[in-house]
């Protein structure tokens, strides 16, 4: 599909050399939403989980220490900015880099938790994030080889889809699916949420949702099925 039918009329571009960020109503909306959420998360404090104790009437409060709070807030802000960047970038390789940055920062947000289950899930997610660098960058490289360009503007102008482009887009899709933890690969990310520090944990979820929407749009630009 062309850019206009996917995202609306082109409002403008931000040229950074060969990397041109582009603004359409769709991308601008997602960009602003992510930024608003990032600001809200940066301002908020963490929750305290209350666990009922066994055999007593006492409650066990699980809260986040100040040091942990600071590093988590920092990483959550970086994650929000990376997600916002992934929303408006107009370059395929740039997008994969943003996705990788989101992946590593997601891992960092839960890395300081002292809960074995969460750390175990985070470790498994880290394995997937490492494996994902192959399909993400490999997909971008294959698309570069078969089209000769990485700019989404130029790719959108190409009339036909070569089989290699479809394969590259599939690689990109499986990379994004692993990195964001969608349908069959959800367990690692879902387990990572079971930890105190709610608003910072939320950005993990939000970034996945936003990135997968953008990835589908990019894949529709590459594969001209409709």
């Amino acid at each position: 599909m062309d850019l206009a039918s996917l995202g609306g009329n082109l409002l403008g571009t931000i040229p950074l050399g060969d990397i041109v960020l582009y603004l359409t109503p769709f991308h601008l909306f997602m960009f602003v939403v992510v930024l608003i959420f990032t600001v809200l998360i940066a301002m908020s404090r963490t929750e305290t989980q209350v666990e009922a104790s066994f055999k007593t009437l006492n409650d066990n409060k699980v809260s986040v220490g100040l040091e942990e709070f600071k590093i988590r807030r920092f990483l959550a802000i970086v994650c929000g900015l990376a997600t916002a960047g992934a929303m408006i970038t107009g370059d395929l390789f740039n997008f994969t880099l943003f996705a990788t940055l989101i992946g590593i920062v997601n891992l960092g947000i839960v890395s300081a938790v002292k809960q074995i289950d969460v750390l175990d899930a985070a470790y498994n997610y880290g394995l997937i994030a490492m494996i994902c660098s192959l399909p993400l960058f490999g997909g971008a490289a294959i698309i570069l080889a078969s089209t000769g360009t990485l700019s989404l503007f130029e790719i959108a102008k190409i009339a036909t889809t070569a089989p290699m482009m479809t394969f590259g887009a599939l690689l990109l899709l499986i990379g994004i699916a692993g990195e964001t933890g969608t349908a069959p690969f959800f367990a690692t990310k879902a387990e990572m949420f079971r930890t105190p520090g709610s608003p910072f944990i939320l950005i993990i979820h939000l970034s996945s949702l936003m990135v997968i929407i953008r990835a589908i749009e990019i894949i529709l630009i590459i594969i001209k099925v409709i």
Binding site: L101, S111, A112, L144, S151, F167
Partner: protein
């Protein structure tokens, strides 16, 4: 229906996910062997044909990108030339030492220290500079996380409340 329930339960265990993911990726990569190869020759960042520059006898043989130091820009293509006005200048630059070695040795281009940056630098620092910023921020974030964990979980253990 019981089978589907079992399947969902198995999928809910984080330990199985990396294996499942790598199997899925492996299958896709195997299918990739069946895809007909396709290379667009009109690449954005072209390279000369192997051995072409060696046979021409250029002094910086595999890495000669044309141009003249601080006089004529080298050969670099950009996707959007209107955004990169001074393209090619990094590409053609060589330090005085490099110029000296180039003048006395015909094998200058074959050693790693000789590569005058050239095309890679042009792409990394000029036409695709934003990628470089992102790549280094990925590295910075991983070092931040690793050093934070090292400081708080291995060095400053005395502060922790052991129960």
């Amino acid at each position: 229906m019981k089978g589907i329930g079992n399947l969902w339960n198995k999928l809910a265990s984080p330990k199985r996910i990396p294996k499942l993911f790598s199997v899925a990726l492996g299958l896709l990569l195997v299918i990739g062997f069946l895809i007909p190869m396709d290379l667009n020759v009109n690449q954005l960042y072209p390279r000369p044909i192997p051995q072409q520059q060696v046979e021409e006898g250029l002094a910086v043989a595999p890495y000669d990108r044309g141009g003249e130091v601080l006089k004529v820009p080298g050969i670099t293509k950009a996707q959007y030339p209107e955004n990169s006005k001074s393209i090619g200048w990094i590409n053609s630059y060589m330090s005085p030492q490099a110029l000296f070695v180039k003048s006395i040795s015909p094998y200058f281009g074959t050693s790693i220290y000789s590569s005058p940056g050239g095309l890679i630098d042009e792409i990394l620092y000029y036409t695709r500079g934003f990628d470089t910023i992102l790549e280094s921020s990925i590295l910075m974030m991983s070092f931040t996380i690793a050093s934070w964990l090292a400081l708080n979980f291995t060095i400053n253990r005395r502060k922790e409340n052991f129960k």
